[in-house]
Symmetry: C3
Subunit: 343 residues, 3 copies
């Protein structure tokens, strides 16, 4: 299965790319380097000198340009060679490094891996609770040795919480109402649980509902291509209106590293209006969230990949359950977009 190229992928969390440092990451099988210019603007370019293919990331970043470590050709933010220290110093026409459009938004750097002329920042998936002016954001990164679609399957079907994360769950989760709704090119996967008397302590604490109270809960996931998901997790004492409850939003974004490995960016946010202490709380909560993803989801997803190997997911004839509706829908939308792109 090919990659969708004409779309925005998350390349890095903003905080991963620091001033005066070269950051590297493999995305869609390409080695890419990232840096910020003196105004803080992020740049992404192939980590490969057009001369003899040395990794530019081993070179020097100076004056917003990258100097190749090998023979010193120097490239600016547009990938254009601006200095050839050799011979008459003439700069050959082809002395260009591939540059990728990037946009910084939602505390992340988004990259366009396809035709640069088509890169329109307006098509970056929207995520209202991550506007960094109004929200404190806690975020983290993890590498997963599994295809990114195994990850959208994972987030789009939260019935797995009961089995994979028993401490965060109750039997009522998989018994809850499950709906998959398509909204344009996006998908909603909604799980609604009513009258849960077995919710774990943890849940009561997050939603600030006294232990012993029967509660209504919801887990609503919104998917946008390629694998950009928002998870709205909420709770309220049963009988009350949802608007009286608490809803905590989180994000789960995946970017293919290779066909069999992914970059996983995840996080949560709190409105700044809640108070300054929530900056610290966001940072602390995200640390706690990492553990279940790292020690519970990741091993399972990597075991799926081991069993699938290099074969095609559908060729392996997976069993279809009702819980797969949203994940399957996401796979189909991606396949359609890829087919159209390659048509």
């Amino acid at each position: 299965m090919a990659y969708l190229r004409n779309c925005w992928y998350v390349a890095a969390l903003s905080k991963e790319v620091q001033a005066s440092k070269i950051f590297t990451r493999k995305i869609l099988d390409e080695n890419i380097l990232f840096f910020r210019d003196q105004t803080g603007l992020a740049t992404a370019m192939a980590d490969r000198c057009p001369h003899r293919f040395a990794q530019l990331s081993m070179g020097k970043l100076q004056d917003d340009c990258i100097q190749c470590p090998y023979h010193g050709l120097t490239f600016n933010q547009q990938g254009q060679c601006v200095h050839n220290p050799h011979g008459d110093g003439r700069i050959p026409d082809k002395a260009k490094v591939k540059v990728f459009p990037v946009v910084e938004r939602y505390s992340a750097i988004w990259i366009w891996m396809g035709e640069p002329a088509l890169a329109n920042p307006k098509t970056i998936p929207s995520c209202d609770f991550l506007d960094s002016e109004n929200f404190y954001i806690g975020s983290d990164y993890m590498n997963i040795q599994g295809n990114y679609l195994l990850e959208s399957d994972n987030i789009l079907d939260l019935s797995h919480i009961e089995f994979v994360h028993p401490l965060f769950s109750s039997p009522s989760v998989s018994a809850g109402e499950y709906k998959c709704e398509v909204e344009g090119n996006t998908i909603w996967s909604k799980r609604d649980i009513y009258n849960d008397s077995q919710a774990p302590e943890f849940i009561h604490k997050v939603f600030r509902i006294p232990q012993g109270t029967v509660i209504d809960r919801w887990l609503h996931v919104h998917w946008q291509a390629p694998a950009i998901m928002a998870l709205y997790s909420g709770g309220v004492a049963s009988g009350k209106n949802r608007s009286e409850g608490v809803e905590t939003p989180g994000f789960h974004w995946f970017t293919p590293e290779t066909e069999t490995s992914s970059h996983y960016f995840f996080g949560i946010s709190f409105p700044k209006a809640m108070g300054e202490e929530f900056e610290k709380i966001a940072a602390e909560e995200i640390k706690q969230l990492r553990a279940p993803f790292e020690f519970e989801d990741k091993p399972i997803i990597e075991s799926q990949q081991r069993n699938i190997g290099n074969k095609d997911f559908w060729d392996e004839r997976p069993l279809i359950l009702n819980i797969d509706a949203a994940g399957t829908k996401a796979r189909r939308i991606m396949q359609k977009m890829i087919d159209e792109e390659n048509a």
Copy 2:
């Protein structure tokens, strides 16, 4: 070269698969899990959930069923899904895990990798000295990075003892009489040494013959497909009748893990009639036997595999010596069986 599928392979030593625990092993390139039910009966099934291919071995064993770690589908010993915690709980027709026939015999678990309907326990290779009611068995396991046929070559040609295990040998071993006899679909590789005055101390001790006595020795290997070998090693003071001597039987069983790696099960036995202390002796002697296999045979076999790589053994045009008769015969029988199976 394909694998022979319709035959019994040794999957594990009985003691490797413990009550209430899931055991895993790759056999003929397939990840397989093993467990015992509450009566102790062993079960083998694909370590791969039919739903989304998670490794079932990461799940839970309860009530003789395996619950998938990911979404909780539960499978019984027949591989049949017996519980679907999702939606209306209906169990899809295809919700089945591949189950492999197994039989426990000779302190080992034997697995049938082919067409289940053809699995007949009567065709398990026979091994009279391993009847665990009448014998104390000492056994061990080792992984070898080499094709299993390199291993049957090894055991079927004991001339290598002189070079590979000099401490256990004397020059008379390769000078001994060598015979290869075919008996139905099985092979005998017999090495008989007469009037050996140079046998190492070790040999005199095992066969309880005073140092200095000239001895007659024999090493008789019996091969059965796919790579099930019994080695009868005996000795007696020269001039006496063999029946007055001592014979210690051992087994060497090999199962393909992949085309280039094998599972090696080996052991010895003592008749219970010899006394209870022989339970401990069996366990101790097998520990000592491990060293020469691990540090002398294994490195050589793995060096063969490195030199052969992924090429076909015969295509590499090995030199044929008289000592190869039995190993070559075994390779031919296996090839014939594989060809017939795929015809």
Copy 3:
């Protein structure tokens, strides 16, 4: 790209192959073993027994013969089996190990990987400053995970010194005059720097020119197939005649291990006439030379290989600069020789 086979490759430094020991190295994808006979003469043979492909290097070297570790076939220096300990002891016609012509010269062992009948020691590249009767030689070895042609590119274009080895350089290096001259089937890559007032302290010391003196320097590299290079590095106070200056010669030899990895042999020499203390100086200086090669060149060359992967260098369309003239010429000569060999 295939290898050139009918040519002399450097297999090892003389000192790497010690008396009474078996040395192994993979060359052009073949595992080869080396030893010295009792007169000190070096022998090279395939590290692979013709019987069952065990690595002969795990066996014994005795009486100038190699005994296979597995079944004891014994091979002499001509690769001929001279002893079969089995059966009637007859030696099969095909009981031969492939032997490679070798010649010891310039403190190294040269190997001929092609048709043995064509191996003519007169075609070993000449290297006058390595005659070990008249020179003290300091030499060392390093494994590089990169194709050997990336290495000839490296040595044939010393403009990289300025960027890769800033401590050994001055901006004047890449500004220097650069010439590529073809001399028969060999190449000269000459870099001449005039009136350098910025040469590092190190340079002044090596050429024994007081700090502060403006100097003329030259870096002349002579290439012979397959990747045998001599580097003449000299310096003299500007205005004086070069013959009044100092010139230190060094060698850089590369041999393919695989398509993507190389053996790197490098060294320097001092005329014995300079005095006995130069034996020690040669040994010490080579230790210091190792660091820049290991920590500065090697990582860059390996990054090139990572970016090229298994693709063809030219298919990746490298940018051509004037500094590539000699490296490109060397690649073309090699390609022509390979094409002719396979015609």
